[in-house]
Amino acid sequence: MRALDLIASRDPQVVEITLRAIFISLSSAFLAGVICIPLGGIIEFRRFWGKRALINLIQTFYSLPTVTVGLLVFLLISRSGPLGGLNLLFSPSGMIFGQAILVSPIMIGLTITALAGVGSPVRDTAKSLGATEMQIIITVIKEARVAVIAAVLLGFGRALSEVGVAMMIGGNIRGYTRVLTTAIALETSMGNLELSMALGIILICISLAVNLLLNRFQGRQEWRS
C-alpha cells in the first residue's frame, strides 16, 4: 500500500505536517491547561449561586461544534474584529488561541470531576493545618494529578483531531498552518487518497500513543496506592 510507503520513507512533507500539528495542538492544550486547571479548581471549591447551572453549561460545551468556535474566533481576530490588531488570523498562534478556546470546556469540566473525586479528608486535613484556599486547591490538584493530566491529554487529542478551527483560523497555508486534519481534507478533495490515508494513519497512531501514555500513568498510580 502506497500510504504505508509514504510513512516509511519519511516523506518530508508528511513529517513536517505531523510535527506542526503536534506542536500547535500541544501548545493549545498547554495554554488551555494553564488557564483551565486553576479555573476548574476555583469553580469546584467555591460555593456560589448558579454553580450547578454553570457546570451543566460547561458540560454542554464539551461537544461545542468546532466550526462554530472557528467562526467566533475568526470574527474575533479578523482585522475588522476586536482583536484584529494582534495579527493572529491565518497564523499558527491564531490556531493555538482558537484551539485553546475549543478545548477549554472539556478541560475545566474534567478538572472539576477529577477534583471532586478527591475525598474530603484531604481537604479537611489541609484546612486543619491552616492552609489557605489556594494551598488547598494546589494540594488537591496534586492529589488528583493523574486525572488532571488525563484532562490535558484529552484536550490535546481534541485539538489534534479537529478540523473546523484549524481550517477557518489557520487557512491551511502550505508550510505554515497546514496540519494533519486540514491536509487530509485538502488531499482528499484533490483526489490524493493515498496521502490522505497516510496522514490519517499517523493521526490514529498519535491518538494511540497518547492513550498508552495515559494508561501507563494511571497504571503506576494504582500500583502505588
Binding site: I42, R79, G84, L89, T132, M134, I173, S189, M190
Partner: protein
C-alpha cells in the same frame, strides 16, 4: 488569593499569545486569498516557490471560493486577491476596497458530463445547453442531474450568469427539483461528486484537467464567450486597511504580470498534462475583455 491566580492565568495567556505572535513575524509574509482553481491545480505552489526565493519572503496562500476571498479582502485579512468574477471584482474596486484590477491569466469553463450525454446537449451553446439539462432533469431526475458548486465562488457566479442568459431566475432553478444538486464545496470535490452521480457540472478547465485522471466525465461543451474565464489579481486598498502589506502586494502583482510570471503561467501543466492549463493574459488583453490599463505593466497603484 483566587483572584491572584486568575490574574496570573490571564497574564500568562496574554504572554503566550504575544510570544507566539512575535514568533510568527519572523521574515516578511504576504497573504494571498485565492480561488481554489489556482491552488488545487498546483500553479500557486510553483509561483510561491519562485516568488519566495526571489524576494526572500513567504507567500501565504489561503484558498477558497471567490466569495470568501473577497470577504477576506473586505475585512483586511489578506493583502492580495486572486479571483475570477468580473462583476464582484469591479464592485470591490468601486467600493475602494481594492487598488487595481490586473488580468493575469485566462482559460475557459467547461460544461462536463457523462460520456453518453443523456441530455443530448453536444454542440449547443452554454445557455441553451443548461436550459436543456433543466428540462430533461425535471422530466427524469434519475438520468439527468446537475451538480452546482453552490458556494458563491467565481464558478458558481458564472453558472448563475448563464441561467440568467438562458432566461431563468436562479432562485427558481435551484429549488425546482432533485435534478439540481448543490455541493457547497470546492471545484475538485464538486467534480468528484458529479462523477459519482454521473451528473453534469460546470468546471474551470484547469481543475478539470488536473482531476481528469480520477474522473469518467468528459467535456461536453467547451469554448464560447459565455464560458470565458479570466483570472485577476488585486491588491487590497491600504487606505481602507492600513495593516495590509501594500508594497509587497504590488511587487507580487508585478511579478505575476512580468514576462517571467506570464511565462510561468502559460507553460504550467505542459509537463504533467501535455497541454498548458492557463493562457497568459498578456497579448490577449482585448480578446478576454480587459482594458489596456488592466494589462499594463507594471501596476501603477501607489501605496501612500
Amino acid at each position: 488569593m483566587a483572584r491572584n491566580f486568575l490574574k496570573m492565568a490571564l497574564v500568562l495567556m496574554a504572554l503566550s499569545v504575544l510570544c507566539s505572535a512575535a514568533w510568527a513575524v519572523d521574515g516578511e509574509r504576504l497573504k494571498v486569498a485565492t480561488t481554489t482553481s489556482l491552488q488545487d491545480t498546483g500553479l500557486l505552489d510553483l509561483i510561491k516557490d519562485k516568488f519566495d526565493e526571489k524576494y526572500n519572503v513567504s507567500l501565504d496562500v489561503v484558498s477558497g471560493g471567490t466569495g470568501i476571498a473577497i470577504q477576506y479582502g473586505e475585512r483586511g485579512d489578506v493583502d492580495v486577491l486572486m479571483v475570477h468574477d468580473k462583476e464582484r471584482e469591479l464592485k470591490f474596486i468601486k467600493d475602494e476596497q481594492g487598488l487595481e484590477r490586473r488580468c493575469i491569466a485566462y482559460n475557459y469553463f467547461l460544461l462536463v458530463g457523462p460520456k453518453d450525454d443523456p441530455a443530448g446537449i453536444k454542440g449547443m451553446n452554454a445557455s441553451s445547453a443548461m436550459a436543456r439539462i433543466m428540462e430533461k432533469g425535471l422530466a427524469d431526475p434519475a438520468k439527468v442531474m446537475f451538480v452546482s458548486r453552490g458556494d458563491n465562488s467565481g464558478t458558481h457566479a458564472r453558472e448563475k450568469l448563464i441561467w440568467k442568459k438562458a432566461g431563468y431566475n436562479y432562485s427558481a432553478v435551484n429549488t425546482s427539483g432533485p435534478w439540481y444538486i448543490e455541493a457547497g464545496q470546492g471545484m475538485g470535490a464538486t467534480l468528484n461528486m458529479a462523477n459519482e452521480k454521473q451528473a453534469y457540472t460546470i468546471s474551470d478547465m484547469s481543475t478539470f484537467m488536473a482531476y481528469q485522471g480520477n474522473l469518467t466525465l468528459v467535456p461536453i461543451i467547451d469554448g464560447g464567450s459565455d464560458l470565458l474565464n479570466v483570472y485577476v489579481a488585486m491588491a487590497v486598498n491600504p487606505k481602507k486597511h492600513p495593516n495590509v502589506n501594500c508594497k509587497l502586494a504590488n511587487e507580487f502583482i508585478n511579478y505575476l504580470v512580468s514576462d517571467e510570471g506570464q511565462d510561468l503561467i502559460a507553460s504550467y501543466g505542459t509537463e504533467k498534462f501535455g497541454t498548458p492549463l492557463f493562457s497568459a493574459a498578456s497579448g490577449s488583453c482585448e480578446l478576454i475583455g480587459c482594458s489596456a490599463a488592466e494589462c499594463a505593466v507594471p501596476t501603477s497603484a501607489s501605496c501612500w
